[in-house]
């Protein structure tokens, strides 16, 4: 079975004022469907660039990127937007909820751009909020929620469109440890339910939640760390692994 995400010799160069910055330098990576991958590395190693390319926010300078069987490295802005809306869900460090939209409207945004019929949209939003335990706050505004609750709403927004992959960029960065743990548990549960997750984090405690951790350094994959089989089995059985 082909991987959900396949990167082949991916590079990304930024040009600013006669300076070339090689953010990614020949990245090879495959992520299987249902996998939970974390990307780790020091600041400036290219984690965010890799995530933005995986999320089709940026196009690579060279190399190949296949998402769900479709080559997406050289698509137009419009085509990238369309595939992004269908295949990718985002979770951000700072939640990025829109202040003047209700929880329901925030979660519905990806479906709005997909032009999903209203009835179906409402149904899917309710189910997504139910999954993250925030249905009771559906009519609230983000400003009326705690940080942990806001991030749960952001998770609901990421999964409401049933994307192929959820990309999480430091999802616990703005949360205290209790709320951080709670969000990590939520992601784990989503993964157990079948979601493919790729998470950027520099917190080793949370990186261990993933099936596999990819270490980046200077734009290259320098190490891959897989969770031992017995730990994986224990976790699949519902035990927390420290």
């Amino acid at each position: 079975m082909p991987p959900l995400i396949h990167l082949e010799g991916l590079t990304k160069v930024f040009y600013t004022d006669e300076i070339e910055t090689h953010a990614l330098d020949g990245v090879h990576l495959a992520i299987a469907e249902g996998e939970y991958v974390s990307i780790a590395g020091p600041s400036g190693c290219g984690k965010s660039t890799l995530l933005s390319i995986l999320g089709l926010l940026h196009a690579p300078t060279s190399g190949e990127y296949t998402l769900n069987g479709t080559p997406v490295a050289r698509l137009s802005t419009l085509e990238r937007a369309r595939i992004r809306n269908k295949e990718v869900g985002f979770i951000f460090q700072s939640f990025n909820l829109i202040g003047d939209l209700t929880v329901e409207e925030n979660v519905a945004l990806p479906l709005t751009y997909r032009k999903t019929p209203t009835a179906e949209r409402k149904d899917r939003v309710q189910r997504a909020l139910e999954r993250v335990g925030m249905l009771h706050r559906i009519k609230h505004y983000p400003g009326q929620l705690s940080g942990g609750q806001q991030q749960r709403v952001a998770v609901a927004r990421a999964i409401v469109g049933d994307p192929s992959i959820v990309l999480a960029d430091e999802p616990t960065g703005n949360l205290d440890s209790r709320n951080g743990e709670s969000v990590m548990t939520l992601l784990r549960d989503l993964n157990r339910a079948g979601a493919t997750i790729c998470m950027v984090t520099h917190d080793p405690r949370y990186a261990k939640n993933a099936d596999r951790t990819i270490h980046l350094f200077d734009g290259r994959v320098v190490e891959e760390e897989r969770m031992p089989a017995e730990e994986h089995e224990l976790r699949e059985s519902g035990f927390e692994v420290g």
Partner: protein, 783 residues
């Protein structure tokens, strides 16, 4: 100082706000000067609120104010409510100063200066009973007599009559007009007051009310006297009743400015709307700035700044800009006002940017600035209070408030644009009105012959010779003369009798013109029936007259007036021809009846020559002066103008109104568009992360253009709806100023809506496309 330092960090915003304040101050100063000096300020006479004009009025004839006859003046001057009264008769004369010079003269009864409360700045009033004396205007004394201090007692030659200079009157005395150069005594005899002279209405009556007597009381006494007139002139009763004649007293200032009042009030309304618009614009700019400073304000609060001290700091920034802008704007108004063409306005010579005007304009601008400053401070405080209740995208309430402000700006601009468009269309339609004659390439000038030296045969010989010599000038197509030019200040409206007229309609009346042969050819007024006057229509020939189509249709419906007889004065005349209708006093409304008589059968001493030329008529101005000098070197030529100049005067007020409102609309549109642009740019700038997020969630660049454009559409639509409602109110209130266009003209409204939609689209395009180019990955990293 801290305010200036703070503003220097945002030079663009500071410059935009200061410029807006400057434009507002300039508009307020100019409009304030016009309204204050023309409409509000008392006339420059002691207790001027006691001064009145007394006019004959003919309600059925749309004649606002008609002069009085000598017997009329005699009836009303003794009214108890009047402390004093005087009569004025305007004329022109030849003042001999080396060479003849035509001057504007007012013949005034002895009470004239006492009524106005004026004393000469040099010399004295006329001596009792004096006839051969003259008072000079200050301008004439300075310009023609070199401001000689020994002028009193000197002798000047007026119409070849030596007159003693009694004194010099101050420049502020613009009665009967600011052009008056000489005042000479007017004495009546008992014969002048005979009832037979009641039709000879050529006097302006002024009066001073007794102290404490209201004008209504004077009017009641006038009404009593008016009723008694009916018994004394039984032969005029029918005419007076039909024409709804009455005599009315008006406050002198109100009467002087009556015609200009609507234009000035529209101007004032437009200026106030532009001021409101500017205030909304500046408020929007400073709201955005305050959002950007929220962190700084929070730090200041944390360090112990009170709410009041922060409010004062915010207000002082706006006040600094307002003070600078007001200074520049008022200085610009001071420089600009003397260069504006105000000649069509009454009291124009009094209009200036003086201390009072400066104080009013500065006070309004500074009060506005203080209001804006404290409104922003109050908003910042409210924002701080409610911040906790909202999420991090705190720009939304500001954007909404700015949107409301921009909608208000669009509304004001739409109101002004609609009104301006209708006034412009009125002006355009008035210009397109068929006058009935061809005004292109026609030179006109006036010549007056002194009655004493020119007996009737000599006068007629003079005008005949003048016509022949004018026609001989190379470049002249034809030449003639008339007693009154179309659209000239003088108009002769008289009543006449029609032989066999059944009297069911009202008393026949018409604009009366005495003309030389070739007048109709020269003016290109078509001859429709019969024949035109010729040189054979002299005193020794049967008396004849011509009428125009308007008179023919009104008084001889369904029949030809040719061969019919009319009685003008004591003389019966046969109608020999019908010419096309012409407009002579107003471009609006229907053409009014005209009655023409041949000069060679009339007793005229003053005529306007009309000269049709091959090219630019003013090129021949020197030649016509030479010709007049050849006929009589002592006769000055005056009022040398083209026929188009007179037409221009006829549409001067509509042009002024249209120009003023259109200019205000242009400023309003500019402010509204910049307001809309600034709002959208602000939204894009403050919602970059949201735009990035939406794009990350799958929104296409086009959807982001639509997202930003929605703001523009909503704001513009709300503004247009409000503005159209305002326009309906404003255009209906100025219905009397419109011609040929309905206040609810759907085409104008449609054009305004389309124009604003286009302007809004243009203003919104740049920020919207900027939003579409936002890099979502970069935007999402922004804090």
């Amino acid at each position: 100082m801290s305010a200036i330092r703070s503003l220097s960090r945002v030079p663009l915003l500071s410059a935009a706000a200061a410029l807006t304040f400057a434009v507002t101050a300039a508009i307020l100063a100019i409009v304030g000067a016009l309204v204050w000096h023309i409409l509000v300020r008392p006339l420059p006479f002691p207790e001027s609120d006691r001064l009145l004009f007394v006019w004959n009025r003919y309600g059925a004839r749309e004649v606002q104010s008609s002069a009085l006859s000598a017997p009329d003046f005699n009836d009303y001057r003794g009214i108890r409510a009047f402390e004093s009264a005087a009569a004025i008769q305007t004329a022109s004369a030849s003042l001999m100063l080396g060479e003849p010079r035509r001057v504007s003269v007012a013949r005034v009864t002895p009470e004239f200066l006492r009524v106005l409360g004026i004393v000469p700045i040099i010399g004295n009033d006329f001596a009792p009973g004096e006839t051969d004396a003259v008072l000079l205007s200050e301008g004439t004394w300075r310009n023609l007599f070199g401001a000689r201090t020994d002028i009193a007692g000197a002798t000047v030659l007026v119409d070849n009559r030596p007159l003693r200079v009694a004194g010099v009157l101050p420049a502020r005395l613009a009665v009967p007009s600011r052009d008056t150069e000489l005042w000479v005594p007017l004495h009546f005899t008992a014969a002048d007051f005979a009832d037979a002279n009641r039709g000879d209405e050529n006097l302006t009556m002024i009066a001073r009310l007794r102290r404490g007597v209201p004008v209504e009381q004077a009017q009641a006494q006038i009404d009593v006297v008016s009723r008694s007139v009916f018994h004394r002139v039984p032969d005029r009763v029918a005419f007076l009743n039909e024409s709804r004649w009455h005599v009315a007293a008006f406050g002198m200032r109100d009467d002087l400015v009556r015609r200009a009042r609507p234009a000035l009030l529209i101007l004032l309304a437009a200026a106030l709307l532009v001021t409101l618009l500017a205030a909304a614009n500046i408020l929007g700019l400073f709201l955005a700035r305050t959002v950007a400073r929220q962190k700084e304000l929070a730090v200041r609060t944390a360090l112990g700044a009170t709410r009041w001290s922060i409010a004062r700091a915010l207000a002082s920034e706006v006040l600094v800009l307002a003070a600078g802008g007001a200074g520049v704007g008022i200085a610009a108004a001071w420089l600009l006002l003397p260069r504006l063409a105000l000649s069509g306005l009454p009291r124009a010579e009094e209009v200036r940017v003086d201390g009072g005007v400066i104080a009013i304009a500065a006070a309004i601008v500074l009060a506005l600035a203080a209001g804006i400053g404290y409104a922003i401070a109050f908003w910042a405080w409210r924002q701080e209070q409610s911040l906790a209740e909202r999420s991090g995208t705190g720009s939304v309430p500001v954007a909404r408030m700015r949107a409301v402000l921009v909608a208000a700006q669009v509304a004001i601009a739409v109101t002004l644009l609609t009104s301006g468009a209708m006034l412009l269309e009125t002006y355009r339609r008035l210009r397109a009105v068929e006058t009935g004659f061809d005004p292109e390439n026609v030179l006109t000038f006036a010549v007056e012959l002194p009655r004493a030296q020119y007996e009737i045969p000599r006068r007629q010989a003079f005008f005949r010779e003048l016509q022949q010599r004018l026609e001989a000038i190379p470049g002249v197509v034809s030449a003639s003369a008339t007693s009154d030019l179309p659209f000239s200040p003088s108009d002769w409206n008289g009543t006449f009798r029609i032989d066999g007229y059944d009297g069911r309609a009202d008393t026949p009346s018409a604009h009366v013109r005495t003309v030389l042969p070739e007048y109709f050819t020269t003016m290109r007024i078509p001859l429709l029936r019969g024949r035109a006057f010729t040189m054979r229509d002299r005193m020794d020939a049967p008396r004849v007259a011509m009428v125009d189509q308007a008179a023919a249709q009104k008084y001889w419906p369904n029949q030809s007036p040719i061969g019919k007889r009319i009685q003008w004065g004591q003389t019966w005349r046969e109608i020999i021809g019908v010419v096309g209708p012409v407009r002579t006093s107003s471009l609006a409304g229907d053409a009014e009846p005209h009655l023409y008589m041949p000069l060679l059968q009339r007793n005229e001493w003053m005529l306007y020559a009309v000269v049709r030329t091959e090219g630019d008529p003013l090129r021949l101005a020197g030649d016509v002066r030479t010709v007049v000098r050849q006929v009589d070197p002592s006769r000055p030529v005056y009022a040398v103008r083209t026929m188009n100049d007179y037409l221009g005067d006829a549409i001067a007020q509509p042009r002024l109104r249209a120009a003023v409102v259109a200019a205000s609309a242009a400023v309003a549109i500019l402010l509204a568009v910049t307001g809309l642009y600034a709002l959208l740019a602000y939204i894009v700038a403050t919602r970059t992360r949201e735009v990035g997020l939406r794009m990350a969630l799958g929104a296409t660049p086009l959807e982001m253009v639509a997202f930003i454009s929605r703001w523009a559409v909503r704001v513009t639509a709300a503004g247009i709806v409000l503005g159209l409602a305002g326009a309906v109110v404003m255009t209906r209130s100025m219905r009397a100023l419109l011609y040929g266009i309905d206040p609810l003209d759907p085409f104008t409204y449609a054009v305004v809506i389309a124009l604003f939609a286009a302007v809004a689209a243009a203003a919104g395009a740049l920020p919207a496309f900027r939003a579409a180019r936002i890099d979502p990955a970069v935007a999402l990293r922004q804090e």
